[in-house]
Every structure is written in structure tokens, then in C-alpha cells.
């Protein structure tokens, strides 16, 4: 009985861990190309989930998800073009505050469009009560969906950044924007692209976890804090580490319910965030050597 309960908590932790990881990766992509922390990252997850629910009203599920991801990507690009692109040599602080403003704007916009209702997509395979039984542990197929999608995203991003021209150009832009411009790389387009990419990833995550965690207009800012914690915990800029950190945070939170009142669940991530920022800002997996070379 003890082990069954243990694994049940573990699975719940992994499920939340994947979404934290994906939000953390979104932070990293934009941070890597622009040096800014985009606090509207959680809003992309919310937009993806909400748009998919709406589209599902008249489209089959796969098309609704794809449509939601594409729409959110366009939104991400537009946000960059309208609010960020035209700034002349903005300071990092100014850009961060702008992203906080954007997140409030999106949240309130979503409230107008969708209202306060809690929504969710149907389960991708099976339904609420269908479960795979793994040695006495009951596992919802949707959990496998979200873990699988997270893995695919990480794999795709790794291939993209390491082995494609475009990925290399984005990394160049991240490492030294002036030098990238001197190579003839249109740096502003790379920044737009990073917003498009992380919006798409966030939206996809929002769709996959929506059946389990539900979607509401206000989930974005909470997710942004969790995702930021994960990004810091893993080491800013490192997407693989964000995945590990996401699982760590998810599992910690999940087990905390075992010993602490549920109300303290959210305090865990804040506590970790503060502790990391004080003790080891380069993150658990941050390589000091690489940090120095990378200059962030």
C-alpha cells in the first residue's frame, strides 16, 4: 500500500513536472536569444489551452490542438513585433517589466473572451476513468501523453539548436547580438522567432495537460512562477536541465502534500526559487566553466 501511494504521488509529480519543464524551456528560449525573462510565458500555456477548447467546438481534436498552437505562435510573434521590436537599446529591466505588462494584458483579454469558467479538452485517448495499470499503480494515459510530448519537444529543440542553420543563428544572436549582426544575421527576426517558438511550445503544453489540470484565464502567472523557478533551478539557458528541474519541482510539490497541508504546495517553489537565487544562481546543473564562456 505504501509503495502504491508512493508511486501515485510520483506520477502526479511527473505530470506537473512536465508542464513546469515546458514553461521553463520557454523561458530559456527567449532568454537565450534576448537576455530577457518573458513573464508572459505562462500566458502562452493558457492561450494554447483555451484556444484549443474553443476550436474543439467545431474541429476534431488533433486539428484543434494544431490550430491552437499555430494561433498562439502568431500571437507570440505579434507580441514581440508590437511591444519589443521597436525599442531602441532597451535595458533588460525595462523589457522584463514590459513582459509583465503583456501578461496582465493577455490575462484580462482572456477574461473578456472566455469568462471565468474552468475548461478542459477531452482526454486524447480514453477518458477520465480509463487507466493503465502498472504494478498496482493506476496511470492515466494522458500522463503518458504529456511526458511524451515533453520529451519530443526537448529532442526537437536540441536537434534544432545544434544542427540547423537557423538554430545556430539564434544561438549566435544569443551569445553576442552585435557580432551576429556583423555576420549579416537579421537579429530582430531571430528575436521574433524565439517568441514564436516559445509561444508554440507553451501552447502545445497547454493543450496536452489541459485534460488533467484544466484551463482557466488566470493560470498563466502561477505557471510563470513555477516555470521561472525551474529555469533558475536548472540553470538559465539550459533546456535539458530545465526538464530535470521541472521533474524535481513537480515531485517535491506532489510529495509535500503527503506531509504538509495542501496550502503550502505553492510555497515550495517560491522557497526553492529564493534559496537558489541566494545560494547558487547558476543553477543545479549550471556548469561554471560553460557559464563563463557563454557570458550569461
Amino acid at each position: 500500500m505504501f509503495f502504491e501511494l508512493f508511486f501515485q504521488y510520483l506520477v502526479a509529480g511527473l505530470t506537473y513536472g512536465t508542464i513546469y519543464a515546458i514553461v521553463g524551456i520557454g523561458f530559456n528560449i527567449i532568454y537565450n536569444t534576448t537576455g530577457i525573462i518573458n513573464f508572459a510565458q505562462g500566458e502562452f500555456v493558457m492561450l494554447g489551452g483555451m484556444t484549443a477548447v474553443t476550436l474543439y467546438g467545431f474541429l476534431p481534436l488533433p486539428l484543434a490542438v494544431i490550430g491552437a498552437v499555430l494561433i498562439t505562435m502568431v500571437m507570440g510573434g505579434l507580441i514581440e513585433m508590437v511591444f519589443i521590436r521597436w525599442l531602441v537599446k532597451p535595458t533588460v529591466l525595462r523589457m522584463i517589466i514590459i513582459t509583465i505588462g503583456i501578461s496582465i494584458l493577455i490575462r484580462e483579454g482572456a477574461l473578456l473572451v472566455w469568462g471565468e469558467g474552468v475548461r478542459s479538452l477531452p482526454y486524447f485517448t480514453g477518458n477520465e476513468i480509463s487507466a493503465l495499470s502498472l504494478g498496482g499503480v493506476r496511470l492515466s494515459p494522458q500522463v503518458l501523453w504529456s511526458i511524451g510530448v515533453c520529451m519530443v519537444i526537448v529532442l526537437f529543440l536540441n536537434l534544432f539548436f545544434k544542427h540547423t542553420m537557423l538554430g545556430r543563428e539564434m544561438r549566435a544572436c544569443a551569445a553576442n547580438r552585435d557580432a551576429a549582426a556583423l555576420c549579416g544575421i537579421p537579429t530582430k527576426n531571430m528575436i521574433t522567432l524565439s517568441f514564436v517558438l516559445s509561444a508554440g511550445i507553451g501552447a502545445l503544453a497547454g493543450c496536452v495537460v489541459s485534460p488533467i489540470t484544466y484551463t482557466q484565464y488566470s493560470i498563466g502567472s502561477g505557471l510563470a512562477i513555477k516555470g521561472f523557478t525551474v529555469a533558475i533551478l536548472g540553470g538559465l539557458g539550459n533546456s535539458m536541465a530545465a526538464v530535470a528541474a521541472g521533474f524535481i519541482l513537480g515531485i517535491l510539490e506532489s510529495f509535500s502534500i503527503w506531509v504538509l497541508p495542501t496550502a503550502y504546495k505553492d510555497a515550495i517553489s517560491i522557497a526553492i526559487l529564493l534559496a537558489m537565487l541566494f545560494i547558487r544562481p547558476s543553477g543545479l546543473f549550471g556548469n561554471k566553466e560553460a557559464m563563463r564562456l557563454k557570458d550569461f
Binding site: R171, A179, A180, A181, L182, C183, G184, P186, K188, L293
Partner: protein, 240 residues
Amino acid sequence: MLRIRNLDAGYGNLNVLRRVSIHVKPGEIVTIIGANGAGKTTLLKTITGLLKAQAGEVLFNGQDIGAMPTERIVSGGCSLVPEGRQVFPAMPVSENLLLGAYVQFKRGNKHEVERDLDRVYALFPVLKQREHQLAGTLSGGEQQMLAMGRALMARPKLIMLDEPSMGLAPLMVKEIFNIIVRLRAEGNTVLLVEQNARSALKIANRGYVLETGRIILEGEAEDLLANRDVQRAYLGRDAE
């Protein structure tokens, strides 16, 4: 090839360059010498659009590039090897060079990039040896070579070098200057900004002396080398 007229530039309210006019003709090495803070780097940054001019015009092959973004100036054939090399430290040498070829890829000259890469490796054999090493782990001289190689990958018509000798051992400085001469022999046009006035004037065709944001002297390189004011101020020779 490059013609600058009455250029004013600076940072914010700080005016650095005042009514600077220079020109560079195809196939020559032109050097701009001057002390720290004279505005040499500011001038190159303004030409490449990293800094916007406050007044004046910058013509490159007859086209006004004053308001263009950096990437368009570079794809137009005007490349800068920036001060302090500015290589991409966390990427290997080969990737740094391929990024330099960005404009070639965009022009659709994909098949030529391979040849250009061989050409750069022939010019800097040490880069070939270090091909897979992270650029941040190279020595200062090797990074300078990498920065030059990266700029050459774009097939520039004009290549501008900002203090290539800075912080390098004397032997390495000599090698870098030999390579600059070789670049001219291969038909390149070079605008060289240097504090190392003697070495720069020795290889240049013409030179300008920049002092606190103004061009105070210009002429053939050998005339400047023989000029007593230049000797006293920049070549470390006391007038008897």
C-alpha cells in the same frame, strides 16, 4: 568605395566624432591612427550601423548606408572585424566561420561556401587545426584570426579591422599585419584602425590621424611616417 562626409556621431548626448570626412578607394589599405578615446571605434561602429550617425553621410559604392540596419550593410559587402574579436565563444571554430558565411547562404552561393572555408583555412592554417575546438578556448591571436576569417567568409568588398593587434604578442602582431598585406594582394580593400601607428602606416597606402573626434591630418602613409608631428605624437620619437 567608401566615402564619409561630415560625419557626427556619439553615444546619447556625448558627441564623439565631429565632421569627420574620409574615403577609401578600391584595392588600398587605408589606416586611421589615433590615441585611446580618439573615436576610432566609434567611427567603425557608425559605418556598420551599430551606432546611428547624428549628422553627415556614409556612402558605400555610391549608396547611402547611413540609415541601414547592420545586417543589410554587411550583406552589401562592408564587413567589420570588431574590437576585441567578439567570436562566439561557446561554438566551435567551424561554426563561427559558417555563421560568417550567412550572407553567402542568403545570396544563394551555397556551393561557394565550401571553397571559401578552404581559402580561410589556407590563410590561417592554425584555424584548420583547431576546427572543432570551442572558440572561447583559443588564444588571443587565434581568436583574432578567427574573427578575420569569419568576416572574410561573407566575401566582403571592404573589410574593416578594429585594432587587430590589441593585446597580442609582437610576433603575432607581425603575422596579422602580413596577412592584411596578403589580403590586399588578393584584391581586397582594407580599412585598418590601429593604435600601433608605426606598423599600420608601414603597410598602408594612405592614412588619417584622428584626434579627439576630428581628422587632423591625412596623406600618403609614407608622408605621415615622415611627418614630425606624427612622429612625436604617435611613433614615440622625440624631435631633436
